[in-house]
């Protein structure tokens, strides 16, 4: 067994262990600030223990400045080394030699997954051996098991086993159960957007590292902002079109939302909650770009939709009225086939005609007005209708709000090509689009 011990600078919540699931499924958190990772079966994925250790060291220093780490055969030795010889990577089977040079006081840290039952017993042991003139751990390694057991009972046995690497401490796979939340309290309430964004980014980075360890994507992020005065509270919901772990996208969406908030009432507390979902696993070729056009587009659509701009791909619909005959969808969906269908049930059959089938080839203006514009008699007199008879008659079902429209092509005095219809009920002409 090979163990990576991460020695965090201050007490952390058990959720911190999820961050390091990226290195191995076998991760153990020990209160208040220790994380042990079994890297025996996963080191080769990072190009060996050296590669894994470098990446782990970078991650722990980014998220927890002042943290240390060490790799050894057993969790207890890794803990001692992370405390007294930070960032040391001990070769397999060389743990005893490495521990031997350390002073006797290092016994306090020789714990691993299981802390000392009573630290006072270990301290008394250290004092006793100092009084005998022993100064280093390798001198203590000469003492027999029976001698230690006779004087210090179970604690003596555990010390002997840990000194000789015979204390079996198995790291079990970690099942993530902690909620994906981060909480921040500002000693000085924040009224500047860049400061708020900086704090948000740090918290979001930690949450997304946990998401990566858990193998999950973020469906949405909820920001709860508590103001300093009047118990004012803001809730910001960030929901991109597609679940992802793109922190840049989330930060952009958050920045846009935070920019809308009035920070005259400064923010005192903030919490971020991530709603996760399982990640979509993609098998990419070596040469395939990691960020595809689709990823860029999804980010763009998310940003625009947050700003209430409908964005996406035009999709024709099987509708008769031109204004209802299309929609904008965030994802490209192939057009429906406009064909008549026949349902056969036993001896009976039912023909379901697609009334808008012929309309797919009908002339439609390139620019359609959002609302048909009534034409005044004076303007109508200036138009030159290309045909005397309507080129098309559109009529919806009588059960709907059908008006019955006769469509014409017309030219204005300026030469504009217009799409005009005559409402037969109102006897009114409308401009509906331009062949622009």
């Amino acid at each position: 067994m090979r163990t990576l011990c991460l020695n965090l600078p201050k007490a952390e919540r058990p959720a911190v262990a999820e961050t390091f699931l990226a290195f191995s499924p076998r991760v153990h958190y020990r209160d208040p600030r220790w994380v042990f990772v079994d890297i025996a079966s996963t080191a080769h994925l990072f190009g060996g223990e050296g590669g894994l250790f470098r990446e782990a060291r970078k991650m722990v220093c980014d998220f927890y400045p002042g943290a240390t780490a060490a790799v050894a055969d057993t969790p207890a030795a890794a803990q001692v080394l992370s405390e007294l010889k930070p960032f040391s990577l001990v070769a397999p089977q060389a743990e005893s030699n490495e521990l031997g040079d350390l002073p006797l006081s290092a016994l306090i840290h020789l714990e691993g997954l299981v802390a000392w039952r009573a630290v006072r017993e270990v301290e008394s042991m250290i004092d006793f051996f100092y009084s005998l003139g022993l100064k280093k751990i390798n001198e203590l390694q000469q003492v027999s098991l029976s001698s230690l057991r006779e004087r210090w009972g179970d604690t003596g046995m555990v010390v002997w086993r840990r000194l000789h690497g015979r204390d079996k401490q198995i790291i079990s796979p970690l099942v993530p159960t902690e909620p994906l939340t981060e909480y921040m309290h500002f000693d000085f309430a924040v009224s500047l957007l860049p400061l708020l964004l900086h704090s948000t980014e740090r918290a979001l980075n930690r949450l997304f590292a946990r998401l990566q360890g858990r193998g999950e994507f973020a469906v949405k992020a909820l920001l709860h902002l508590h103001c300093e005065y009047s118990n004012r509270y803001h809730l910001i919901e960030i929901k991109p079109v597609k679940a992802s772990r793109q922190i840049d996208l989330y930060m952009k969406l958050i920045e846009n939302k935070l920019a809308e908030i009035d920070l005259e009432n400064p923010i005192k507390e903030m919490s971020i909650e991530i709603i996760p979902c399982s990640e979509k696993i993609q098998q990419l070729d070596f040469w395939e770009p990691r960020e595809t056009d689709q990823d860029k587009l999804q980010s763009l659509i998310s940003v625009f939709q947050q700003a209430s701009l409908t964005t996406g791909f035009l999709r024709p619909q099987s509708e008769i009225m031109p204004e209802d005959s299309w929609e904008i969808s965030a994802e490209f969906l192939p057009s429906q086939l406009l064909e008549d269908t026949i349902d056969i049930d036993g001896q009976a059959f039912q023909l379901k005609p697609t009334y808008s089938q012929s309309l797919s080839d009908s002339p439609r203006p390139s620019r359609l007005l959002p609302e048909p514009e009534p034409l005044s008699p004076a303007r109508l007199r200036k138009l030159k209708f290309i045909t005397a008879q309507p080129v098309e008659r559109l009529e919806d079902g009588w059960w709907d709000t059908s008006r019955g429209r006769d469509y014409y092509f017309a030219l204005s005095a300026e030469g504009q090509a217009l799409w005009v219809f005559h409402d037969r009920i109102e006897n009114q002409y409308y401009l509906h689009g331009y062949f622009d």
Binding site: G312, F332, P370, E414, Q416
Partner: protein, 233 residues
């Protein structure tokens, strides 16, 4: 090609200039530093499919990395001109974007008639105000994804410093940005590489690099959308 030759720039120091007495000496001493006519390459552009226009302008279409302005009343062919260019782009699986205005929307049926691949055309609804329109354009251009971005300004205009920003972004993204306006020519026309006014006679080019202006391109196929349908009907 003659105008391209005018573009050829060479460098020589003062001492060399004094020594050179004749054209022949100039050619022999600086021959290596001159760019040959066949070495001059036209700037990139996106063909519109309207051969008269593509052959006339330097870029053989809408200029890439610059702003173009098509202005004039609706119904004279500005949108169709961009749709034709977009059709070529989208069919080659590259991306285009259209930013709508509150005065009109693109109809997918017309796009299908021009063989635009809707899979590669992103459409954005009308922005609320001028600031949001500028922001949307900046987002589109900064993505460096689109070959061409068209913005329907309707009857509104863009401020001069906004155009400067857009021009810089277009140059960085190498995107052909086309603004379509129903207003007369704005004062900030100098920000555009190509300006065309649609009139009942055709497209009148009022700004085009290294080309005599104004130049009228009569548009006989202006009502091509309508006539085939009339003949069928």
């Amino acid at each position: 090609m003659s105008s391209l030759r005018k573009e050829v720039v060479f460098k020589m120091n003062a001492a060399e200039t004094q020594k050179i007495q004749s054209i022949e000496e100039l050619r022999s001493s600086l021959g290596l530093k001159l760019v040959r006519p066949e070495g001059v390459r036209a700037p990139d552009g996106l063909p519109t499919g309207w051969s008269a226009l593509d052959q006339y302008v330097l870029w053989q279409g809408f200029p890439k990395g610059a702003l173009s302005l098509l202005h004039g009343p609706s119904g004279l062919g500005a949108t169709s001109l961009w749709i034709q260019a977009a059709s070529r782009i989208t069919q080659s699986t590259r991306w285009c974007a259209w930013l709508s205005s509150s005065q009109g929307q693109l109809s997918p049926w017309a796009l299908r008639k021009h063989n635009v691949a809707l899979r590669h055309l992103v459409v954005i609804s009308a922005p609320k105000n001028a600031e949001q329109r500028l922001w949307a354009l900046q987002e589109l251009l900064s993505l460096s994804l689109f070959e061409s971005v068209a913005c329907d300004l309707g009857t509104e205009t863009m401020r001069d410093h906004h155009l400067v920003q857009l021009r810089q972004l277009s140059a960085r993204a190498q995107c052909a940005t086309v603004l379509i306006s129903q207003r007369p020519l704005p004062r900030s026309a100098a920000r555009f590489a190509l300006v065309g006014e649609f009139t009942s006679q055709g497209l009148n080019l009022t700004r085009a690099l290294h080309r005599p202006i104004p130049h009228l391109l009569p548009r006989r196929d202006q009502y091509a959308d309508l006539m085939p349908q009339l003949t069928q009907g």
